[in-house]
């Protein structure tokens, strides 16, 4: 991760469980948060995500920090924002119905530029759906679920190791851009146990809070640096600042007019859009000379891998593009690829969400095939293979 304004710091060793472990994705996510310096979590129990905060509740009294189980997800999702303005690094964890309840505060975090991480271990929906079974049906909700205009950053891990690594990355991005980051796991990744290597603290890079450098009187909490991201003071430091979810000026004072709205919303959106290239992380393999590229993320990428291998055995030229960053969407990457291939195949555990983004980015230069699945289990590799074969014709 390039760091345009600040030096990465070493992780605080107190939170880093250096060593080789066998962890499920939920526990690995918790360790990632601790390694990233999160010392505050607010949650409300919900399957299949609860293990993250259960581990946090067990670990945090020995690390130094706070876990509080709130009365609902509306509370949890704003308690953590209060903690951030009090100086903490903080996160919350949820699934399905809880994610729906958190939407208002995802918007509040975006509007007030509160760095924080929302973890969503996705399960089958709509509504109570399939509490214990996987899906990837919240990808659009993560992007657009709160009202109004804002840009979103969302990451998708496909293994417990990545749950650890990318959770740290999610915190770093939230601090770098002063914005909420969605960490979009799924039930399979959350509950699968694999080897997780946790490096020593001095090998983990931490993006420090963009704290006010100027003294009170000279600092404004919403006055952007060159990269459009402002530095923030915390409560209790003598800055006497105001924070509001209303449209506000650089001081944070409400200003109810279209000019301020335009300036603010454009900046909120552009601070992330401008950095899309720096932000977007993908994994590609076998793209050179491919006719078909399978685009996938999260648990589905592991099934897609199998389908790609089966297709290659049949002599098809298939490439793999895995999205670690789903939002902002790697549109430039897709656009560039589209010019050299016949088709994209997009398997996902929903009835068609990211496939539409791929199709839009491809802009007709290559065909796009979805492989929809309502969730509850993963795809059969053959189901993806069939579509690859159709796309290659």
């Amino acid at each position: 991760m390039k760091n345009p304004t600040r030096q990465l710091q070493h992780a605080d060793p107190a939170g880093v469980l250096t060593g080789t472990h066998f962890l499920d994705g939920d526990h690995a996510c918790c360790e990632g948060a601790l390694a990233a310096g999160a010392r505050f979590a607010a949650g409300y129990p919900i399957t299949p995500s609860t293990e993250v905060v259960e581990r946090f509740a067990l670990r945090i009294p020995k690390v130094g920090g706070t876990f509080i189980q709130m009365e609902d997800e509306l509370a949890a999702s704003i308690t953590l924002l209060g903690a951030v303005w009090g100086g903490a690094k903080a996160f919350t964890v949820t699934s399905g119905p809880g994610f729906s309840l958190m939407m208002e505060h995802i918007g509040y975090a975006a509007m007030t530029e509160t760095p924080c991480v929302f973890v969503n271990v996705q399960r089958g929906g709509p509504s109570t759906g399939l509490p214990t079974l996987p899906a990837q049906g919240d990808m659009m909700q993560a992007r657009w679920g709160s009202h109004g205009d804002y840009e979103m950053i969302a990451l998708c891990p496909n293994s417990p190791q990545e749950c650890f690594d990318l959770t740290i990355h999610a915190f770093n991005l939230s601090e770098r851009f002063r914005t909420p980051v969605m960490f979009m796991m799924d039930e399979c990744v959350g509950h699968m146990t694999e080897k997780v290597v946790i490096p020593p603290a001095d090998q983990i890079g931490i993006y420090p809070r963009r704290h006010a450098v100027r003294p009170p009187g000279e600092h404004l909490n919403f006055e952007p640096d060159e990269d459009l991201v402002p530095a923030m003071a915390h409560a209790g430091e003598g800055y006497r600042f105001h924070v509001t979810g209303l449209t506000h000026d650089e001081r944070g004072y409400p200003a109810m007019n279209p000019e301020t709205q335009d300036r603010l919303v454009r900046r909120l959106v552009n601070k992330i859009r401008m950095a899309a290239e720096e932000l977007v992380q993908v994994e590609e393999e076998g793209i050179e000379g491919a006719d078909v590229v399978v685009v996938s993320y999260g648990i589905t990428s592991r099934v897609a891998q199998k389908a790609i291998e089966l297709a290659r055995e049949k002599g098809l030229k298939v490439g793999k593009l895995r999205l670690l960053t789903v939002w902002p969407f790697p549109a430039a990457k897709i656009r560039a690829l589209a010019r050299g291939i016949r088709a994209f195949v997009v398997p996902e555990l929903n009835m068609g969400q990211i496939v539409n983004e791929v199709e839009r980015a491809a802009g007709g230069a290559a065909r796009t095939y979805g492989v929809p699945h309502a969730g509850g289990t993963v795809h059969r590799p053959e189901a993806i293979l069939n579509v690859i074969e159709e796309a290659a014709r």
């Binding site: 710091q9 505050f40 509306l74 949890a76 308690t79 903690a83 915390h234 409560a235 003598g238 006497r240």
Partner: protein, 293 residues
């Protein structure tokens, strides 16, 4: 430390130094009681010589919710109903802060009612000032959980028929360590209560009845702001220590005011520390004051 111990000579209104004067004129109507309560709050800050850099006001959404925007303190205008959980996170992350939640009756007891009772149950060390004007004012005067029976509001055009909350009883039952009620007429007593809660540990709740001449009094033919003040004066009975079950409000009944509850109970952080030390001994690492570098 940043207290205001001596008032500058030229300041006629002692409250002015506590306000973001650049944001005045405020949005409140003439005769509105919210500003009166803010006066009392500013006087309480003055009397208690609080370190103003360490006092934070957290509001929800509503006419009262705008208080956060006018006080010259660190202040947060949060979302509707969620000032208390925001304040909870703030206080737990930085225990050196004095965190005051300043919001309306609808914000705190309807959409935010769940948070009110749970913060009181946990005994989170925050101070809640609830301005009760019996309606949702900001949105045009709809009925809410505090609207007295038979009162006319924009969504109870034929008179309210839902029973209302007795807020002091609710806060008391949920575990608040300090519960008081005053009205916009009782400026001195309100100031004293505010001073007391600023110095008291634990979850404190002050209800203050406040005229909304624009939407409540007018619609109910109760006159102007001054008429409401007269009503408060005539109908109020001070009964400190009254059982909160006996202080319910009606449309034109007597108004029981006073300090009803003032007790000691370990707060959330004390309970947490005690439990962790008991269980973990020297393995327990107390949360340090937060700092993210």
């Amino acid at each position: 430390m940043s207290t205001l111990e001596v008032l500058p000579q030229e300041v006629t209104n002692p409250v002015e130094p506590f306000l973001r004067t650049e944001r005045i004129p405020h949005i409140w109507c003439p005769g509105c009681g919210i500003g009166t309560t803010v006066n009392s709050f500013a006087r309480a800050l003055l009397e208690t010589r609080m370190d103003l850099d360490k006092v934070v006001v957290v509001s929800g959404i509503g006419c009262t919710g705008r208080v956060a925007g006018y006080v010259e303190l660190d202040s947060f205008h949060t979302t509707h109903g969620r000032a208390i959980p925001f304040a909870t996170g703030l206080k737990l992350a930085n225990p050196s802060l004095t965190v005051v939640v300043y919001s309306g009756d609808g914000d705190l007891s309807a959409i935010g009612g769940n948070h009110l009772i749970h913060a009181a149950r946990r005994n989170i060390d925050i101070k809640v000032i609830c301005v009760n004007n019996f309606i949702y004012a900001m949105t045009g005067g709809q009925s809410g959980p505090t609207t007295p029976l038979t009162a006319t509001t924009s969504t109870s055009p034929y008179g309210a028929y839902e029973p209302s909350f007795n807020l002091p009883q609710l806060a008391d039952a949920a575990g608040a360590v300090y519960v008081a009620r005053w009205t916009a007429f009782h400026v001195r007593q309100m100031t004293r209560s505010m001073s007391e809660v600023l110095k008291k540990k634990g979850f404190c709740f002050i209800e203050t009845l406040s005229p909304c001449p624009t939407l409540y009094e007018r619609r109910n033919k109760l006159g102007e702001g001054l008429d409401t003040m007269r009503h408060y004066k005539e109908k109020s009975k001070v009964r400190n220590g009254a059982p909160t079950s006996e202080v319910a409000l009606g449309m034109r009944d007597d108004i029981i005011v006073g300090k009803f509850v003032d007790r000691e109970r370990p707060d959330y952080s004390e309970l947490l520390h005690h439990q962790m030390i008991t269980q973990l001994g020297d393995k327990y690492v107390e949360a340090p004051a937060c700092s993210c570098g």
